[in-house]
Symmetry: none
Subunit: 201 residues, 2 copies
């Protein structure tokens, strides 16, 4: 029943994702696509994941970190799949090997951060990274890329940055504008609206 979903996900995420379908009643593996470990159909699931899912009220859980024996680091999500009657019929787990992504990120970071002198920073000058990171987090949360942000998205990000005190540091506004792919004017407009909403909702 759920097999096409699993196949589709594996097709999309290439060789770096493993999809496992568990039977919550027998606690065994129903099926596995692109296995990264030796597990196969019929093996016990031996997953604390299921317990965690039981306790939580939500059916979708993660992403959380898992580390394989060989050191590979996985980002994992789980979901309870229910039949039309509302009863759990399967548990879906997607495990994405993030090692190659981390390596690629390290390569790019090497290009991007080559300052030859690092004599100082007691307290971080890296508020720029912080801006980048805040935007990145929101992208991940919302599932939208910066280019596809709507007004509310930008407002939310600017709000977080403001509460983080970023705009108190000099020359911060152009940096934020660049990170949001937006003009300086727009940042000021969003900032004004955000502060306005705070005081008079």
């Amino acid at each position: 029943m759920w097999a096409p979903v699993c196949q589709a996900v594996v097709l999309l995420l290439g060789p770096y994702a493993e999809v496992v379908l568990h039977d919550p009643r027998t606690d065994r593996v129903l099926g596995i696509w692109n296995p990264m470990t030796a597990r196969q159909h019929g093996d016990p699931s031996l997953l604390g994941e299921l317990d965690a899912l039981d306790q939580a009220k939500q059916d979708v859980y993660g992403p959380y970190l898992k580390v394989l024996a060989d050191g590979r680091r996985l980002s994992s999500v789980s979901a309870v799949l229910r039949d039309p009657g509302g009863e759990p019929s399967a548990v879906l787990c997607i495990n994405l090997d993030r090692t190659p992504l981390e390596e690629a990120a390290a390569v790019l970071a090497g290009f991007a951060a080559p300052t030859v002198q690092r004599p100082e920073p007691l307290f971080e000058q890296d508020w720029v990274d912080r801006v980048q990171h805040t935007v990145g987090s929101y992208v991940r949360e919302s599932g939208r890329r910066v280019e596809r942000f709507g007004r509310e998205d930008r407002l939310a990000v600017v709000g977080r940055l403001d509460e983080a005190g970023v705009f108190a540091v000099r020359r911060a506004t152009p940096v934020v504008a660049a990170a949001l792919k937006v003009s300086r004017s727009t940042v000021y407009a969003l900032l004004a609206e955000h502060r306005d909403r705070r005081t008079s909702p």
Copy 2:
């Protein structure tokens, strides 16, 4: 004479690199390839880079960080080019826009980061307290009260604050001046001297 080198570099680094050739005698731009700012041939170089190169014994300098007015961040290297007689005939500067690299790195890092939680490390709002604290610590170390500070004492404190990045935040200078019981002018003077000593002890 050096033009082919510049063209080659620009060709290699695509649209993200700017190459500028300066005349160290007249302090003007000799040529510019793929300009990222409005500078053009004949404009004054207005670069502290040249001074830095004079003082250093080396001919190649960097990479160091430069931030453009629009928020783009550049990795820059400079090199003194000499004629066969050993006299400086030009200064070469290569500026690489690292923004796209940082964005790509952020995207990958976003994939690789598994945590779903939102608690961002909040930016320090209490930099004012930090200033007070820094001054207070020095008072305790030296055994002198602020009013009895000598020039070297103030210099030391300003140095620490500068390295802590305090002067990057807006309206910080008056606060520091007040904490040191000193005029704004003096803070700037001390700051200038401290930064001067850093580069040429």
